[in-house]
Structures are given as structure tokens and as C-alpha cells.
């Protein structure tokens, strides 16, 4: 049986949700952007009207205002977007349980077994599109195809509020004339290489010999050849079957530059505390701690250390991160952004053999402290209990990475190519 896969893309998601809730700005150019005061001032998304002014996602707000002086800028309301994301999923769940979310505003669903009950794939896609519009007041574009890659291309093909069918019969007419960089995994560098070899469209990629693509692009060449020809067989993966997380990280751009190690230490502690708490919630211990830092001129340093014993103790993660910082940064320039991340997980109950010099009792005590702090924070909120050392620099430490950053970037490939 041929597979029927939909890719559902919420059009201009954050901006649409904001415009729904504020009828007075619906006819104005609107962008959702971070706070400029805390230096997160970039465009996260924009509505159709603002798109006409050539505003780009990721563009600083000052530059956006230059292009479009009457731009309405709205701070993001992530809990509201999460609610709408869940509502869209609720609608999809009426038709299938094979749902693979891709970020907050996109999903693939497999409706091979049920589409005929609704009069066919295209009809079902239109039912879903209409329901989202009617029940949630936002629009989606849906790509209907026999594989995930073409379904995604379909949802990009016609926007907003549209359904595009890419079948085995019409994909050569619909997909092949599109520019090659519309295909997943053809970024600027890959596109440049393809152009050097006079390959401009997806059709050009499809008709190039697989080995030749591999020679030009490496392993990804084979993958792109299969994507362009519609050979992709990757199943839609139910979210509960998604592979385990491989790393946990938190980072922040600070409201002002950090000028000394004491300030860095305080921010690192806040980040390590959140990373540690998330690690414990997942029931993992980590063996590698990484830090990421960016100075005021935006040059970036990233470095990591393998721990002798896996840990989930906040203080150990924080200490390791601080020592990484001291060993790798001379503080010739103030720091603008900082990040702490942990990888290389093992289960929390995995047996460990410490050497003679490890103070296991102290570790047990620290673990108990962490557990207690976690319980209190969960029950009474993140700021219910804080380390006294953070009170010295409230302006840079009063943020909540644990709850503020619940939207994580995702990749399509679930492992190596």
C-alpha cells in the first residue's frame, strides 16, 4: 500500500497567534521579537504584511524598524504558543496516532490507513486545514505526499491556508523545477557546490548519478539523491518513540557584558543549576561538560571536559564549567553570551566504582541537597529558593533557564547519515 503522509505547517505561527488575540493589529505589519533591553532583540517571526518589507527572521529589531518604521513589535509569549501547538496536535490526534512533531509549529502525520474514510488524502487534508482555521483561528498549509520529504516541500509550496498534493505521478512536474536549496539539507555551502557543477534545481540533483553526488558532497550526496527522487522511506516516528535525548544545554545572552570572573561564575551557576535539574528530571548522569562563550565582539569559544565519574550534581557541573572557563579564557574582552551543556549520558542508577580518594558521603549529601532544591522549586517556583551568592548580581542572574526555554531545536535525521 502506498503511504499517505501529511506535513502540517502553521503559517507564521507566533505572529498568527498574536494577531488572533489582538484584532487591532491584524492589518498592520507585525513582528514577534525578543526584548531589546535584555539584548535578545531579533525578529522571531513576522506576519504576511511585514514580510513585504523584506524583513528576515533573525534580523535585529533596529534594522527591521529602519525598513519598516510602523512595524508593531510584540514580545514573545511562549506559554501561549505551546498551548496552540498542543491544540493543533489535539486536532491531528482525531485522525491518527502516528504524529511526529518537528519543532513547535510543524508535524508529520501518517494517515495511510484512514484517508479513505474521509474520501481520500486531499479531502482529509482540507478537513484538517478547515478545522484548524475554524477552531483555533490560525492557518496551516499542508503538504500531502508519499514520503516525508515531499510532504514537507508540499507544505512550503503554497502558503498560507493551502493544500498541495505531490504524488508519484506529478512530482517530476511539481518538485523537480524547484531550486535545489528548497530541499532539506541543502544549505548555502551544499548549494554553492552544486551550482559549481551546474546543478540548480531539485531535478538536476535527482538526475545526477548517485556516485557523482557522493564525490562532490560526501555521504550526504547519496541522501540528497534519494530525497530528490522520492525514494525516502523514513517512517513518521511517534513522539513517544523518539530517540533519547543526547545532550542537555542552556545558554543566555546577558542584559550587560560580564567583566569579571565572579559575574561569570554566578551566571554559570544559574545555567548549571537548570541543566542539572533537567538532567535529574530525565534520570541521567553526564560524563562530559561543555561550555560555550561569546565575547562582546561576537567571537565564540567552545570547549569541553570529560569527567572522571558521571554526575548529576549541580555543584560538580558548575565547578567543571568554571574550571573550563578559567583554563580557556584570558578575559581580554567582556563576555556577552554563556552556555553550559552536558552530554554522554548514563542512567542514574548505573553502578559506579569510585576510587579510594572520592568522598562518596559528600557526594550523597550534595545529591540530597539537589533533590530537595528540585522538589521545592517544582512546587513553589524557580525563585522560591536561590543560592545566596546570586543575590550580589541580580541583574544578570535573575532569569529562569529551566522554564523559559522549553522549545528546543530539532533535526530531521535521528542519527548519523
Amino acid at each position: 500500500m502506498e503511504r499517505i503522509i501529511f506535513h502540517i505547517d502553521c503559517n507564521k505561527f507566533y505572529a498568527s497567534v498574536e494577531c488572533l488575540h489582538r484584532p487591532e493589529i491584524r492589518n498592520k505589519p507585525v513582528a514577534v521579537g525578543g526584548s531589546e533591553q535584555s539584548r535578545h532583540g531579533i525578529i522571531l517571526t513576522k506576519n504576511e504584511i511585514a514580510s513585504k518589507y523584506d524583513l528576515k527572521v533573525g534580523e535585529p529589531l533596529w534594522s527591521a524598524r529602519k525598513k519598516c518604521p510602523n512595524l508593531v513589535i510584540i514580545p514573545p509569549n511562549f506559554p501561549l504558543y505551546m498551548r496552540f501547538s498542543k491544540e493543533v496536535r489535539r486536532i491531528l490526534e482525531d485522525y491518527t496516532d502516528i504524529i511526529e512533531p518537528f519543532g513547535i509549529d510543524e508535524s508529520w502525520i501518517d494517515v495511510s490507513a484512514v484517508a479513505h474514510l474521509y474520501g481520500g488524502a486531499e479531502k482529509l487534508a482540507n478537513i484538517i486545514r478547515e478545522r484548524v482555521k475554524q477552531e483555533l483561528g490560525i492557518t496551516v498549509s499542508i503538504g500531502v505526499s508519499f514520503n516525508k520529504i515531499f510532504a514537507k516541500l508540499g507544505s512550503d509550496y503554497k502558503k498560507p491556508d493551502a493544500v498541495t498534493v505531490i504524488s508519484k505521478e506529478n512530482f517530476k512536474e511539481v518538485v523537480w523545477p524547484l531550486p535545489a536549496n528548497d530541499l532539506l539539507y541543502i544549505g548555502p555551502a551544499t548549494y554553492h557546490t552544486l551550482q559549481k557543477h551546474y546543478r540548480y534545481t531539485i531535478g538536476d540533483v535527482a538526475q545526477t548519478d548517485c556516485q557523482t553526488l557522493q564525490k562532490w558532497l560526501g555521504k550526504i550526496g547519496i541522501l540528497l539523491h534519494s530525497y530528490a527522487n522520492g525514494y525516502d522511506l523514513t517512517p513518521v516516528c511517534k513522539s513517544e518513540l523518539m530517540p533519547n535525548i543526547k545532550s542537555i544545554s542552556n545558554s543566555t545572552t546577558l542584559p550587560r557584558d560580564l567583566k569579571n570572573f565572579d559575574e561569570v561564575k554566578a551566571v554559570v551557576f544559574v545555567l548549571a543549576e537548570s541543566v542539572g535539574r533537567r538532567l535529574r528530571e530525565q534520570g541521567f548522569k553526564c560524563s562530559v561538560v561543555k561550555i560555550y562563550l561569546r565575547d562582546k565582539d561576537l567571537s565564540t569559544v567552545s570547549t569541553q571536559k570529560k569527567l572522571k565519574y558521571p554526575t548529576d550534581i549541580t555543584r560538580e557541573i558548575s565547578k567543571t564549567a568554571c574550571s573550563l572557563f578559567l583554563n580557556n579564557y584570558k578575559f581580554d574582552k567582556p563576555i556577552r553570551s554563556l552556555g553550559v551543556s552536558v552530554t554522554d549520558f548514563c542512567a542514574v542508577d548505573c553502578p559506579l566504582q569510585y576510587d579510594f580518594f572520592v568522598d562518596a558521603q559528600k557526594k550523597a549529601k550534595l545529591e540530597t541537597i539537589d533533590k530537595t532544591v528540585d522538589t521545592l522549586k517544582k512546587r513553589y517556583g524557580n525563585f522560591a529558593l536561590q543560592s545566596a551568592s546570586l543575590l550580589k548580581s541580580v541583574d544578570i542572574t535573575h532569569f529562569n533557564p529551566h522554564d523559559d526555554h522549553t522549545i528546543h531545536p530539532v533535526g530531521v535525521l535521528k542519527g548519523k547519515i
Binding site: L20, H21, P23
Partner: protein, 81 residues
């Protein structure tokens, strides 16, 4: 043009979990009894800006939409009200 007005609602919580509104307490203190509920569905309110469970009610012979948005109730009110 409509505006979103949050209102207090007297409602019946049924055994099976359904919530059925009975009357609305308007801003000026008047209590309006819902004579009839003709439809219940999930819907967006483009006029007032929001979405939730929409109760189509008849109040004194006039059809009105009452929305339960997460855990708050609102109505689409005329701008002048």
C-alpha cells in the same frame, strides 16, 4: 468592531465532566440568564481575539457567543459596551 470582555459565569459541573453555563454576571452587575444553549463546539473568536469552547447561547431572544478560553470565560461585546 468587537472587544473581548471577560465575565463571571455561573455554571453547572455535570457528573461526566461537562461544564454548562447557566447565567452571566455582566460588568454593570446585571445577571443574564442563558435561556438556551443551541450549540457547543471548539472555535476561534476572530472578532474578539481568542479561542476555546464556544457556547452558542440565546439570551432574551438574542444569539450570543460565550467562550471558555482555558479557564476564563469571555464574550464578544460591542465596542461601545
Amino acid at each position: 468592531m468587537c472587544k473581548k470582555v471577560y465575565v463571571e459565569v455561573f455554571a453547572k459541573f455535570e457528573k461526566d465532566g461537562n461544564i454548562i453555563p447557566i447565567s452571566i454576571l455582566w460588568q454593570d452587575g446585571t445577571i443574564y440568564k442563558l435561556d438556551k444553549i443551541t450549540n457547543i463546539c471548539v472555535a476561534a473568536s476572530l472578532k474578539a481575539g481568542g479561542s476555546g469552547i464556544r457556547y452558542t447561547c440565546i439570551i432574551k431572544g438574542v444569539q450570543t457567543y460565550l467562550f471558555l478560553e482555558k479557564d476564563r470565560w469571555f464574550v464578544e461585546a460591542k465596542e461601545s459596551e
